[in-house]
């Protein structure tokens, strides 16, 4: 119909539909609404600046202290990434062992679950006592928070191979290594990635917890100091940086997942588009 195509053409002239439909537009629109709501709330209820700063105050804080905050983000990011990589490097083989051996599972799994109920914040000072100020306690704290979801997801992934699949492997006389490399590992990949995504966001929390208790650098340190000095705009700016670290790392894992398990149900629309 000419009229509808004209209307579409008109809309496209204003905002190209490619941009409107791109995945980042909707969350961004929501974010803008939240910021407007925040600003309105502060003004309407006249909330004092030492409780909640206005968005404008936070932007000011970015302008004056942005460079310094980005500098402080570096050690936090390093601690997060190191703790996360350690989680993956230790968590995935551990999940393999637990899923592969009933004996290992019976010894290890209950203790792992038990250890998860110990609050990391409570034992973080201990790492400072053991490893001193600096990178080490942060990495360990990030690792301890990040490793559990990797293990749980990995165990589930490795265990969810169907009985018929095992029979198929045995009928082909596959070795243990072949079964693992050709069936077990690829089968567990989607679950492992789900665990890694949770892990990376928890690793950020872990790194900040480490910085709370024993560090003189990093976003966690900035957070603690700015609360102490009632510099709330700086604190909010630091929180935003922290959230950005988490989002970027999550996005990287998501990208890796798309590249490595393009065959999984959660990724299939991507393939359908390309074929």
């Amino acid at each position: 119909m000419p009229s509808s195509s004209r209307r579409e053409g008109f809309a496209r002239a204003l905002v190209p539909s490619r941009i409107v439909n791109s995945p980042w537009v909707r969350p961004l629109a929501l974010l803008v609404m939240i910021i407007i709501g925040w600003d309105l709330a502060v003004r309407i209820f006249s909330i004092p600046a030492y409780l909640i700063p206005t968005p404008w105050d936070v932007i000011q804080a970015f302008r004056t202290e942005g460079d310094k905050l980005l500098m402080e983000a570096v050690p936090t990011t390093i601690a997060t990434v190191a703790g996360f990589l350690l989680s993956a490097a230790i968590g995935i083989p551990l999940a393999m062992l637990i899923a592969g051996s009933k004996t290992v599972e019976s010894y290890l799994y209950p203790l792992l679950v038990f250890s998860q109920s110990i609050p990391k914040v409570a034992i973080a000072p201990l790492f400072v006592v053991w490893f001193g100020f600096g990178m080490m306690p942060k990495v360990i704290s990030a690792f301890l928070l990040g490793v559990f979801p990797v293990i749980v997801a990995g165990v589930q992934g490795f265990k969810s191979v169907e009985g018929d699949m095992h029979d198929l492997a045995r009928a082909m006389k596959a070795t243990r290594l072949q079964t693992f490399a050709m069936i077990g590992l690829p089968h567990a990949m989607p679950a492992i990635f789900a665990g890694l995504k949770v892990s990376v966001t928890l690793a950020v929390v872990g790194a900040v917890v480490g910085e709370f208790v024993g560090a003189n650098s990093g976003i966690g340190y900035v957070l603690q100091r700015s609360i102490g000095n009632f510099e709330l705009p700086t604190m909010f700016a630091a929180l935003i940086i922290l959230a950005l670290i988490g989002v970027i790392l999550f996005w990287i894992i998501d990208l890796a997942e798309r590249l490595m398990v393009p065959w999984h149900a959660s990724q299939r629309h991507e393939i359908l588009v390309t074929t």
Partner: protein, 277 residues
């Protein structure tokens, strides 16, 4: 009409009755299986004796939980028997034999491999010559009507096509014997009939020895040279019927008197005993 195509063969007689031209490929002797569980021993198979000849198509029908799948797993060497033995081609089965391909109820295709690479999986695992088997895989793909789908992923295929791919996978290393555990149970009725025709063709073209476990009586009668009827748990051979219907069989034959009589005869076992399912 010549003598009825339907004959009850006594168990002892069945063993002796092998046609002189065809050699016994699978010999099942006094086979029993008892599963040990926490609640005690659960007998699954009572002593079973059965001979399957080279190139023969044998279908096993029986009520749910009668141990038909257990029988297949025993022949496949996936579980050890409690008593008795299975001899394939003169060799006692103690581990999965090389000369066997298995088709499961679900296609169990690997989601991250294309159809062709799924079919080539046994070749990779068994470290067989890739080039010659690739040729063979492509021929099988053509036979199974999967041409053009070699590079698709399993989830891009219909259920019937997935199961055809898994049949190709079972045949790729050219085994003498194909074991099928209710391979078409998950398919809709019309797809199932088409798959029966295709399986008949594959059997005709390849001359494989096929042991088919099924709970569909028409399917068993349509496909098999002999139908083995199993009793309820713990399963044993209740009767063996020779199906002398001419080949190639057509779907329309399902309406014929001889076919109906056979199917009715097989069915009567289950209603005499109680329930089929």
């Amino acid at each position: 009409m010549s003598p009825s195509p339907l004959r009850i063969v006594a168990r002892e007689e069945a063993r002796e009755e092998a046609p002189a031209v065809r050699s016994r490929l699978i010999e099942i002797r006094g086979l029993t299986k008892t599963y040990r569980t926490r609640d005690g021993d659960v007998p699954s198979l009572r002593p079973i004796d059965l001979d399957i000849h080279d190139g023969e198509f044998v279908a096993v029908v029986g009520p749910s939980g009668c141990g038909k799948s257990t029988l297949l797993k025993l022949v496949a060497g996936l579980i050890p028997p409690s008593q008795g033995e299975i001899v394939i081609d003169g060799k006692k089965v103690v581990e999965p034999p090389d000369d066997v391909g298995i088709v499961f109820q679900s296609p169990v295709l690997l989601a991250w491999r294309s159809v062709l690479r799924n079919i080539m999986l046994p070749v990779e695992v068994r470290r067989l010559d890739r080039a010659s088997h690739l040729e063979r895989a492509k021929k099988l793909i053509a036979t199974a009507g999967l041409t053009g789908f070699e590079n698709k992923y399993p989830w891009q295929l219909s259920g019937g096509m997935q199961q055809r791919a898994s049949i190709c996978r079972a045949l790729v290393h050219d085994p003498k014997i194909v074991l099928m555990d209710e391979p078409f149970g998950a398919l809709d009725a019309m797809t199932r009939e088409r798959m029966n025709l295709e399986l008949q063709r594959i059997h005709f073209e390849t001359g494989k020895t096929i042991l088919l476990i099924t709970h569909s009586i028409p399917e068993a009668v349509f496909l098999a040279d002999r139908v083995v009827v199993m009793s309820e748990r713990p399963g044993s051979v209740a009767a063996i019927y020779d199906v002398d219907l001419p080949r190639p069989r057509r779907l329309e034959m399902m309406g014929d008197t001889a076919f109906a009589a056979l199917a009715r005869q097989v069915r009567s076992h289950f209603y005499a005993q109680g329930q089929l399912d």
